[in-house]
Symmetry: C2
């Protein structure tokens, strides 16, 4: 559909669907519409997505019948070839045939893709890795994951579940640390130690158990308010607890990213996600550990950039992946 | 060169060059010749390779002028696009333009490729992963490395140094273990803990320092004879030292392979190399840890097989990668 100047992408989140008309030549978002989910039943969500797609098509001057497949990014494990969402924890979905539900409602072909794969594609086309063939996007937000572009193509793996960086097993250096349980049900996953949600939970637990840290004053004793940015602010003030925690989290993230680079030899790593980009002291440690632990040969000519497109990367990438 | 029925591949090792004529349709080796290096100077090696290629072409009924590019697998970091061998420790080479040296001597195009990439390609075409698009070959021999086939294509990375599994950084679980120094100059590499050479060196050190193990009797006190197969034999007899060592080595290998599978979602993992395939108790632990630590979604439909083609995988893969 390269002859058609505009494409439609959808970012399907836990609470809403965001659809955009994207200019294929520039990556610019020409029109955007957002709609909250009335409920999370797959049929209801599919109807909502179809509605918002029709609205944005109309607003962006796109004829749905001739614009090519609509791309839909979902935070979950997607079988791209069939449009099946195998597992999307935020939506509480398992084995939902989103592609066919949507295609039936919209009467256009639909391409379902993991949200971080979509974001990596968006950044590679019009963001932090333009024109680069081998790219690893690392996302550290409420969850942890990655999107892989290898040899100029999106790598989704044999069943479409590639890029699950949050679930590689890590071993914290701090002596006496026990493997933390991850939301996926396994122990020792990177996400269990480094995602925004898990770091905040851990700090709450440790402060409740009596740990001494400036974080407690920052949230005025209300531990429910603790977030990664409080830890970063405490680090800034020289707080020992925050320093030790960031060294551990930064070591795990930096070493894991270094290992991915050593294995895959990308030319660019893109760092994204609110947890990482919102905590500059942590980001500095991650970059330092990455540069210290990556193999010398893979480090040559590697560059590490922050994501450029922010929350738009996913919807732009989904639109362009659609077709 | 799909129309030409036979291709020529070379496996360039530390001590000799082995060239074969390979039938493109079956992967069968039609003719093979081997020649030891007189010395390791790049020009001398290139002349030896050219000689053995001419001999094998003649023996295999191949016209060098029309058979297409000759593929050469090298244990080292290769820039496939230019034929430059950036680093081949076994040959003592740095930045050797092997592709152009050979092409000049032979007057045919040459494709230089990492030996494990070549082996992965050979196994994918005619061995343990026929027709499978996403394959990770893991090799544990005197060194540790991998070959990656992703989306049906060889993944060599941005500069051709992808697949360096031996140099991902690992963290041994055994308390008090210090990061071991690797031959690459960095500390904590998988290879430093798990290659045949490094395991044997470690056992020698520990026995010399007084460790109690049946391994000592097996080599009749001559520590210079220690090898991984002695450790495996001692494990078999219930030796506590061997059991502890194999649990540690198996945990590191199994966890690292699990992490690669979680990240890349291949349909098949191929295990190869004398260290791993020659130590069945270690192999069993590696397979157990891999199945315990891989993410549930990437584990679905994954199969783990031993390499089928043995030492021929590299030369077959190199021939077919040539063109």
């Amino acid at each position: 559909m390269a002859g058609v100047p505009r494409a439609i992408g959808v970012d399907l989140g836990a609470t809403n669907a965001r659809a955009a008309v994207v200019d294929r030549a520039t990556g610019a978002i020409v029109a955007v519409r957002k709609e909250p989910h009335a409920d999370r039943a797959p049929e209801a969500v599919a109807e909502g997505v179809a509605r918002v797609v029709r609205e944005v098509a109309s607003a962006g001057g796109v004829d749905l019948g001739s614009c090519g497949p609509v791309g839909v990014g979902v935070a979950g494990q997607c079988l791209g070839a069939t449009g099946l969402v195998m597992n999307a924890p935020n939506l509480g979905w398992r084995d939902v045939p989103l592609g066919s539900l949507l295609a039936r409602t919209l009467s256009v072909p639909v391409r379902v893709v993991n949200d971080l794969s979509a974001a990596a594609w968006g950044e590679q086309r019009f963001g932090a890795a333009r024109g680069i063939s081998d790219v690893v996007l690392v996302f550290v937000g409420s969850g942890v994951g990655s999107g892989l572009i290898l040899g100029g193509r999106l790598h989704e793996g044999a069943w479409g579940v590639g890029g699950e960086l949050g679930h590689v097993k890590v071993c914290p250096r701090r002596p006496g640390t026990r493997p933390r349980l991850c939301g996926c049900g396994m122990a020792g996953c990177l996400e269990a130690y480094t995602s925004g949600v898990n770091v905040a939970a851990r700090v709450r637990e440790e402060l409740a158990a009596g740990a001494v840290s400036a974080v407690r004053e920052m949230v005025e004793g209300d531990l429910s308010r603790v977030s990664a940015s409080d830890v970063d602010a405490a680090f800034e003030k020289g707080d020992a607890y925050a320093r030790e925690l960031w060294e551990e989290v930064g070591d795990l993230l930096g070493t894991t990213i270094a290992n991915v680079v050593t294995l895959l030899n990308p030319a660019r790593v893109i760092l994204g996600g609110g947890m990482l980009l919102g905590a500059q002291n942590l980001e500095r440690i991650v970059r330092r550990v990455l540069s210290e632990r990556v193999s010398a040969s893979a480090a040559k000519q590697l560059s590490v950039e922050r994501a450029h497109l922010g929350d738009d990367a996913g919807v732009i990438g989904a639109a362009l992946l659609g077709g």
